[in-house]
Amino acid sequence: MLVLGIETSCDETSVAVLKDGKILSNVVASQIEIHKKFGGVVPEIAARHHLTNLPIVFKEALSKANIKLNELNGIAVTYGPGLIGALLVGLSFAKGLSLSLNIPFVGVNHIIGHIFANYIVYPDLKPPFIVLMVSGGHTEILKVSDYENIEVLGKTVDDAAGEAFDKVARILGLGYPGGPEIEKAALTGKKDRFKFPRPLLNSNDYNFSFSGLKTSVLYKTKEFQNESIPVEDIAASFQEAVVEILLKKTFKAARNSGIRTIVLAGGVAANKRLREEANKLANAYNYNILIPPLQYCTDNAAMIAMAGYYKLSKKQFDDISLEAVPNLTI
């Protein structure tokens, strides 16, 4: 089965072609450089670029896959979560294509797409497994019991983990994006110097909270009114708090559900201290840890096509009136 994947939920315009679950092409046009100067993704600009780029990316994906239009058997497209204006470009294009080629189309949840990316990277991976999804927009613990059975065990109630990194970097006068900056500063800092709060650490659920942590850091810096602020120590102590919160809940989820495989996904998973601690805990408790390389964690259409391939095989077609859902959850 030849499946076309389309992803335009945020700042990457991407189209991919999969043949029976194997990538034939996966073209990504990133808008990162365009949005950089704004310090974030500007929805209107993102939508404009998707509209301009999509037909070009689409043509390239077809030609790289070396297939003809009418060979396609189905279309998979992200319908949420994401920026409404950006989502609509991909979704409407997919609808037009589905009508024009008279082939079925399916809407894919972007988060589920990220999970299905793992099946591309690790062809032997099979459910069940636990996913810690940590990025600029998401901080979630997911339980993947089966291909279709994915459950959100917990998520952040306020700021995302990546957002906490960015904001603390701002407080400490470090650059953007904050994650790598904090990581660098922490290298020479004392991680035990300050004991920042670990909100919800021992709560009974798997939820996170990072906005109180951010405020604590702010108050800590204020204590050094006339002295110079110990940036490295604060960075290291803050990073330690985040890592502890993230991993404690993740391993608790794995233990309680009896699942032995844990996948760390999203931009924050690039953090070396997080990886180090995760591997240490996995060795100690005998878990299997998978940390996909960053390029498979960023947004791409191959993962959408992969998730779509699954739905299409099961004939779970969507109606042409499917709507974009910016706040789509699992």
Partner: protein, 165 residues
């Protein structure tokens, strides 16, 4: 243009959430709300409770870190929630707000609005949040432009507080 400032004094998080919730129900004549205050001052916390006042599930309200603009649909209109901290010039801001610009009947609520004072003019409400202690924020409100309803709400709120203290 008429400007009236209300100092509502210190509020706990809970008190501020109650205030924001009630405030939302009396804001109908205004569609430009500016939030001014440091990191962690409680701007997003305010927006969450404000949106709840419009029937929006506060779960979906989050800081527009990555997306700069979040849009929440209410039964009557859309709320555009913007964080302008990272923007470097006004042109960028125009880009950011183009979607909102054409949606005449929407509410625009802006974190870090003080960074672009020249942009956010005209009828508006400015909300100042200041750290006073770990668990308290000082809240003051500036109403610019005619709008009896919100003024009388704020008067009632201030008086109620006074009596309590």
């Amino acid at each position: 243009m008429k400007e009236i400032i209300f100092d509502l004094g210190e509020m706990t998080k809970k008190a501020m959430e109650t205030f924001a919730f009630e405030f939302a129900k009396n804001v109908d004549e205004h569609n430009l709300i500016l939030l001014i205050g440091e990191i962690g001052a409680g701007k997003t916390t305010f927006v969450k409770a404000f949106c709840k006042g419009f029937g929006v599930d506060p779960e979906i309200v989050s800081s527009p870190t990555f997306t700069l603009v979040n849009v929440y649909e209410t039964l009557s209109k859309s709320i555009y929630h913007v964080d302008v901290y990272r923007l470097t010039n006004v042109e960028d801001l125009f880009y950011l707000l183009e979607d909102q610009i054409e949606d005449n009947d929407s509410i625009l609520i802006v974190e870090w609005a003080d960074l672009f004072p020249e942009f956010f003019q005209g009828d508006r409400i400015e909300i100042y949040l200041e750290h006073s202690s770990d668990h308290l924020r000082n809240v003051s409100i500036k109403v610019v432009g005619e709008s009896e309803r919100i003024l009388s709400f704020l008067r009632r709120w201030r008086n109620a507080k006074k009596i309590k203290i």
